[in-house]
Amino acid sequence: MVGGAFGALVARDLRLALRQRGDALTVVLFFVLTAALFPFGLGPEPNLLARIAPGIVWVTALLAVLLSLERLFLADYEDGTLELLAQAPLPLEAVVLAKVLAHWLTSGLPVLAAAPLIGLLYGLPAEGYGVLLAAMALGTPSLSLIGAIGAAVALGARRGGVLVPLLVLPLYVPVLIFGVSAIDTRLQGFEGDASLLLLGAILAAALPLAAFAAAAALRQAVE
């Protein structure tokens, strides 16, 4: 019963995202265009660009995900859907996870798919692509999860759209640090770096934490 309801909610959110393709497209386009701007500002120095590529990819990915956080709960909050979901026969924690999964599939995953393109643009060495994708696969779900806490907390607030980045950006720093260092150490020729493990640990911790914290914030919001 809970499993079926979870699947139904994910399917509904995906269907909404597919019908409103603009939202998901904005995220990827923002990611690609912002990342493409840096070489214009920094000049065409191949060594420099290859060295900063991991950092640029992660910072722009993080900002692109941030851009999409507001739509996570706001529409459901404003039209009354959230009140009904709070009474649905699945716990609000599961509602949060279902919505985060749909959010990741329509924001984190497209960004992940576009990341090699940015790598190409910056002349990222060939051995960097595998670890870039692995780091983003482990890191971007954490961005959606942590972002869900901020999006839920900001629901009742005036100018919540400004509040979300302020709440969320500091919490994104560990993902940024380990995401970049995973790629950097691999490019310097070291194997078996712990950064990927730490990204996995952040994801494992964010999964239950975000579910409970965001659900608590949503309960406050519907009251």
């Binding site: 309801a5 139904a8 909404l16 039209d79 009354g80 859907t81």
Partner: protein
């Protein structure tokens, strides 16, 4: 296996009772009502009346388990509702001010989604569409619906899956006369199946033997309001 000793014991109270005892409500710093009690039995209809701001919506949100009472208690068959909110949510259908209609989803898709959450089948979706004359609009996306049609969709959603308690907040707003009649018939049928309904309205609602509860008859007296603010809960 089928011997009489294996029969389920007859429950002491086959008909559920929904009771409120001395409910008090605070919105922000303001006390809205206090000392409100009622007793609703299976098949009963409770009409919540009162002018704007009397607290009808707040009371309904309390009955729906969305807003915690500042004072007093709510019981279902003698058991405190807030002790097992999941079970309470399972048995109720709530219609608030928001219609929760998504612009890109068609009427049928919307109903099918909520039916799958409530464990209702496609037959029930069809019946809900028919009941509120939405069959012809089944393929129309939410963004092309009029205010009254959205309201009918939200009402159709209430009828999905068995529920013992319907909580409707101004359900007739935006409805034409024919739709009000359809709603009244749906509520009557729900009551005939021993379901309960609580309906907030300021213009009245057609229904037999309705208990009328004027929410503005329970004004908080200043002393009580202070006591509530001390933190009765």
């Amino acid at each position: 296996m089928t011997g009489p000793s294996f029969h389920r014991p007859v429950p002491l109270r086959p008909m559920p009772v929904f009771e409120a005892h001395d409910l008090g409500c605070l919105r922000g710093e303001r006390a809205v009502f206090a000392g409100l009690s009622f007793r609703l039995q299976a098949g009963g209809l409770l009409l919540l009346t009162g002018p704007n701001g009397a607290g009808k919506s707040s009371l309904l949100r309390m009955l729906a388990g969305l807003l915690r009472p500042a004072a007093g208690g709510l019981t279902w068959d003698g058991a405190e509702v807030w002790d097992d909110l999941g079970a309470h949510h399972e048995r109720l259908r709530y219609l608030g001010h928001g219609e929760a209609v998504k612009p890109p989803l068609t009427v049928a898709e919307d109903l099918r989604f909520w039916a799958s959450l409530r464990g209702a089948g496609p037959a029930e979706v069809d019946r809900a569409l028919e009941r509120f004359a939405l069959s012809g609009l089944a393929g129309r996306p939410g963004r092309l619906l009029s205010a009254g049609q959205k309201r009918r969709l939200a009402l159709a959603r209430v009828t999905l899956g068995p529920a013992a308690l319907w909580l409707l907040d101004e359900p007739t707003v935006g409805l034409d006369a024919a739709s009000v009649e359809r709603l009244a018939a749906a509520v009557a049928e729900h009551r005939a199946r021993r379901g309960m309904a609580a309906i907030a309205t300021h213009i009245g609602f057609p229904g037999e033997d309705a208990q009328v509860l004027a929410v503005d008859d329970f004004p908080p007296i200043p002393v009580e309001a202070e006591a509530l603010e001390e933190g009765a809960w």
